[in-house]
């Protein structure tokens, strides 16, 4: 058996792959936060709750009749509405994104002229409400979510066996990050978005409907969180707290990467997942705190974050 620095290969690779999986979620979530912060100037504390909603939406789309019967016996929908995992990857983010659009249109947009702090308080309050409602409706024990059949079992990567589902999560999250990066950094729409981040008034005076663009950006960031939620459903149990467990770490990732940086959040998200995984192998006692230690060091050395522009 191969061993690296005295650590057996399978253990190292196993932890590394777990770290990468966590990193994939950090990347997707902090990417959405970065997009929203850049455009709306709001630190979206509801992000974890919206991630959780994505997982719940996916779970609800799996077999709607089970939970409909829980709400009220006799309530049911046709079987074709049991969409299953693959359609939910699209439908859940669209539904949760539409909910985000509603939140932006009704409450969040009232805060743009105020200090950051108000947006933070409002979205924090929204997170508490959403999570509280979910706990009321479903309890806090969590629902199992069966891994889709096509992704059951392990795959042999040559140097290790990896559960197929984890490999899929890595590819899907990586692909989605690339797609978002491309959209923002390499397309005309993205150029408008970047310009509106710098000077929304002037972009609007060129004939762009900036208020609509802001709403859609929020919806897009929320949809990214929901997409992460769908990916997470088979890995973590679907429960009302799954977002708040993640979100504290994700905010540390955002601070380390630099508020609002697209590339920064992707690289930092995956990077810190790996750091966490390696810490579990070499110094397990520190694995829960290592990200915050990194955060302190980065803040001392580069207050604007690794990829942030100094203000």
């Amino acid at each position: 058996m191969i061993s690296i620095f005295g650590v057996p290969g399978p253990l190292l690779f196993g932890q590394l792959s777990l770290g990468l999986i966590n990193g994939a979620f950090y990347a997707l979530l902090s990417l959405g936060l970065a997009v929203i912060f850049g455009m709306l100037n709001i630190i979206n504390f509801a992000h974890g709750a919206l991630f959780m909603l994505g997982a719940f939406a996916s779970w609800m789309l799996l077999v709607p009749n089970t939970w409909l019967a829980m709400i009220s016996p006799g309530l049911s929908v046709p079987d074709w509405l049991s969409l299953g995992y693959w359609p939910a990857l699209v439908v859940a983010p669209v539904l949760v994104g539409a909910f985000g659009l509603l939140l932006e249109r009704t409450v969040i947009r009232r805060l743009y002229k105020l200090d950051h702090l108000y947006g933070l308080l409002l979205t924090f309050g929204m997170a508490l409400i959403i999570e509280g409602l979910a706990r009321n409706a479903f309890g806090s024990s969590g629902m199992p979510y069966r891994t889709p059949d096509a992704l059951q079992g392990p795959v042999n990567l040559g140097f290790m066996f990896m559960p197929k589902y984890r490999l899929w999560v890595l590819l899907a999250a990586g692909g989605m990050c690339l797609l978002t990066w491309f959209l923002i950094e390499r397309t005309q729409l993205g150029a408008r978005l970047r310009a509106a981040t710098e000077n929304p008034d002037l972009v609007q005076a060129f004939g762009v409907n900036v208020p609509r663009m802001i709403s859609l950006t929020y919806a897009g960031g929320v949809a990214l969180a929901a997409f992460a939620g769908v990916l997470a459903a088979p890995i973590y149990s679907v429960n009302p707290n799954m977002g708040s467990n993640f979100i504290i770490t994700v905010f540390a990732v955002v601070v380390i990467g630099g508020m609002g940086s697209i590339l920064g959040s992707i690289v930092t998200g995956f990077g810190l997942g790996i750091v966490e995984g390696l810490t579990k192998v070499f110094y397990p006692q520190a694995s829960a705190t290592v990200i915050f230690v990194v955060m302190v060091i980065v803040l001392l050395a580069r207050p604007a974050g690794l990829f942030g522009k100094a203000a």
Partner: protein, 240 residues
């Protein structure tokens, strides 16, 4: 119909325009006209309200009252994007080049709102420097190049009324001349231009008429042909 365009109407007619920034009342009843195909300047000292007038036309001030009719239609209550889509394009005093966009991205940023704008190739012919630096970050350009980019990007959109706020401010004489040639060229192509200038010697080389602003009002209008006869008056207005 109330808003129907009448061929006798000027392209832009501003009447009784008042504007505010918060509590400060800046424009106190501005009146002037710009006819199709004209180059008209707003002259006046620093703080006279020239920039505020342009921002009011674009809907970029927090509060405005009065009438701004563009091609016969009232725009004083429209949002900036609606005003732009009606056919007015704005080149701000601070140029507004975006740091996170390349030169090409800056150039392509304003959406096309009507046919009849200049092609990118024509814009590069007007401003060859821009072509050479198309991949650079917008704000890495020199001040003169940034000004050319700021003018160039609004020529593409199909807007027929261009608002240029002090395009020659702080630029070297050769570049000022190039911008003068550009304004004459776009006039020859049938664009209408409202130009804010401090430098009336430059304004005299491009404009048909001059409005003089003071303390948030238009206080005089001088046709370009009568400029030299009115030099004393102008010196007094502008305090030069």
């Amino acid at each position: 119909m109330l808003n129907a365009a009448n061929p006798a109407d000027p392209m832009l007619r501003i009447a009784g325009l008042n504007s505010w920034y918060g509590e400060s009342h800046i424009l106190h009843g501005v009146d002037f006209d710009v006819r199709e195909g004209e180059v008209v300047t707003l002259l006046g000292r620093n703080g006279a309200g020239k920039t505020t007038t342009m921002k009011s036309i674009m809907g970029l001030v927090p509060r405005r009252e009065g009438s701004i009719r563009f091609k016969g239609a009232e725009t004083a209550s429209m949002r900036p994007d609606g005003i732009a889509r009606a056919g007015i394009a704005f080149c701000p005093e601070e140029r507004g080049i975006f740091a996170s966009l390349s030169v090409t991205e800056n150039l392509m940023l304003p959406p096309q709102i009507a046919p009849g704008g200049m092609s990118v190739a024509e814009i590069y012919t007007l401003f060859p420097n821009l072509k050479e630096r198309s991949g650079s970050q917008g704000t890495k350009l020199s001040g003169g190049e940034q000004q050319m980019l700021a003018i160039g990007r609004i020529l593409r959109t199909g807007a027929r009324l261009l608002l240029l706020d002090e395009p020659t401010e702080g630029l070297a004489p050769v570049i000022v001349q190039q911008i003068g040639r550009t304004i004459r060229e776009i006039k020859a192509r049938g664009f209408t231009v409202l130009l804010v200038e401090q430098n009336f010697r430059f304004a005299a080389t491009v404009a048909d008429r001059h409005y003089v602003m003071e303390h948030g009002r238009v206080i005089d209008m001088i046709p370009n042909s009568e400029l030299s006869a009115n030099m004393d008056k102008l010196h007094e207005y502008l305090g030069v």
